[in-house]
Symmetry: C2
Subunit: 354 residues, 2 copies
């Protein structure tokens, strides 16, 4: 039985995008069962083999020309790091520990072996940094380079899970680090003129945030150990705007966000000023930030103390509250004025969301 | 530190192929550690989280134009089934039970949604047939369709593992089902004239073996429960010739194979006769057969009885013995004559192996 009407079968992916496709294939996806704690629809799937160790699994694909530039304009080492980082971030967003990865690699027959080795060196450098081992994979011929990484990890026995569906009204909304710099870095990569006038330090920092993001593995684990219950969490892989909307819909809540509280780096402010753009726009619509967005009733001071006790130095900022109004995201500035934004998150099937 | 000399960094993938690449990246792959029982180099990786349930993981990628025809010449439903079957077969080759899959999918923006849904329907149909759930994935834009499937499963608590490195001298070599038909089916697909003259039944059977292979999940599990120890096993994804050589090298043994004992289907014999080709060539060099090749000291009669007791109806044939001469594969016919073959397994980076 087709889960959709005929008119839709005539559509292409550029008509419907990934989100709608995910709805259409719901019928084919596993329901949560006795062993499957979290199925499709979160940062990672969670299984519990006979209640022993709770296992977490996630996969992400990257394709040449879409997620990274066409050859030869590729920094293979950093691409290797980033392809693993994105997946470690998904495991971090479940408050779990990543342990092993499998790498499925499509390579053109004329790819230089040295390039593929640089890619593996990059993957290995970040994997070993986080105690993660590369334990399997498949290498196939493909006209373009494509990389699909699967990560498996587990929840620490006494730890709590972070899930996008667990935000509760009145909780605080927190964001780690700062957002917006990744899009600025991407713009400079695509058009180096845009970086002219920036200090060397700012240039380096913006490019680094895009090319070599830091997955918040320690923070995610610390939250899993600090918080008393499973809690609301997601990582910023698309955009803060988009991830808030995903959390709202999964948790059936709303958010009131103070836009002035959203953390932006000095380097982003410097870039936005030079470009005569709004740094807030970058903060709201930049993807691939890999910061953690989470909710808890723990007040900012208490959270700060608890994180310090766990040895976490990454800053965490309260940017708003969870509200009971399902799906409603209210943006306010620090003077209480309500602001409106339309979604300008990049959609890789169609360009910016309309 | 580069694990290779400079001349090799100037090489491309078509110069070195996948096998050599795997050697070059050894330094970046995880060694077997306290939790990692089997790392890179078998059909699947095996991990043991605090000795509770032994988890098995494997990934396989398929790319349009390489592993399946270019659009629109694709039977999406069957492709979905096959992409999962290939991975279930890898788990079967470890004598483990597949439980969940993650699907990473690259799709062109102009792909019809109905095509992708047929793919998912196919994946779901075989997954549910084997009690396997689709629990995660990623859908990204890509100029060509590419599918990467990760399977996770586990070893039954009292079960034994099948590993390609565990063949021991004097054991019998067994093969499930029959081999050769998949290549015949592929040839007919590529050039339907080659199927002219075949009976409808033979045509259907040869095409089916290529397009809709049956992973030997029940047989793999039954062997894990029958045999007293972990044992030698691999599945035929490349070719019998190639897999014997992989097992020989992983187990540091040799094989004496009786070519006349290698099971070939009636349909393959019919096809080979019409084409005036040697059915043995098909049996030795056909890939994507997904039959199990395994070794044990259990004699044919005893094995047959034990399998029958487990309710296994798939035929299993003794085709030779394990010898102590590492790497030496000796082919004999039923009259004892020694035969020589050069490797004609298809290498997707370079065409047939030289």
């Amino acid at each position: 039985m087709s889960p959709m009407c005929d008119s839709q079968t005539q559509q292409t992916f550029s008509d419907i995008g990934e989100k709608r496709f995910l709805q259409l294939i719901q019928a084919y996806l596993a329901r949560e069962d006795a062993e499957l704690i979290v199925g499709v629809g979160d940062d990672a799937a969670v299984i519990s083999w006979e209640s022993a160790r709770v296992t977490v699994l996630t996969v992400d694909a990257l394709v040449e020309g879409n997620h990274f530039p066409h050859r030869p304009r590729v920094d293979w080492f950093r691409l290797g790091r980033k392809s693993i980082a994105a997946n470690l971030s998904d495991v971090a967003a479940m408050a779990c520990l990543p342990r092993y990865v499998l790498v499925s690699l499509g390579v053109p027959a004329d790819l230089m072996v040295s390039e593929a080795l640089d890619l593996y060196r990059g993957m290995h450098s970040i994997a070993s940094q986080y105690g993660v081992g590369i334990i399997g994979g498949d290498t196939v011929r493909s006209p373009l380079v494509m990389i699909s990484v699967t990560v498996v990890g587990y929840k620490k026995d006494s730890g709590k899970l972070g899930r996008r569906s667990l935000c509760r009204p009145n909780e605080f909304v927190y964001l780690s680090g700062h957002v917006g710099a990744s899009r600025a870095g991407l713009e400079i990569l695509l058009d180096p003129k845009k970086g002219a006038g920036l200090s060397q330090g700012a240039l380096h920092s913006l490019l680094g945030k895009h090319l070599d993001p830091v997955p918040r593995v320690e923070l995610g684990l610390a939250l899993g150990s600090i918080l008393p219950n499973d809690f609301g969490m997601i990582d910023i892989s698309d955009s803060l705007f988009n991830e808030l909307s995903l959390m709202a819909s999964a948790s059936r809540v709303g958010f009131q966000i103070c836009v002035d509280a959203i953390p932006r780096s000095q380097e982003l402010l410097e870039y936005a000023k030079l470009a005569n753009e709004s740094a807030l726009d970058y903060a709201l619509f930049s993807g691939e930030e890999y910061e953690l967005l989470f909710t808890t009733s723990l007040a900012p001071n208490d959270l700060e103390v608890a994180l310090e006790r766990e040895g976490i130095s990454v800053p965490v900022t309260a940017i708003g509250r969870v509200t009971p109004e399902a799906g409603k995201i209210e943006w306010r500035d620090s003077e209480g004025r309500v602001l409106n934004f339309s979604d300008r998150t990049y959609n890789h099937f169609r360009g910016p969301h309309e």
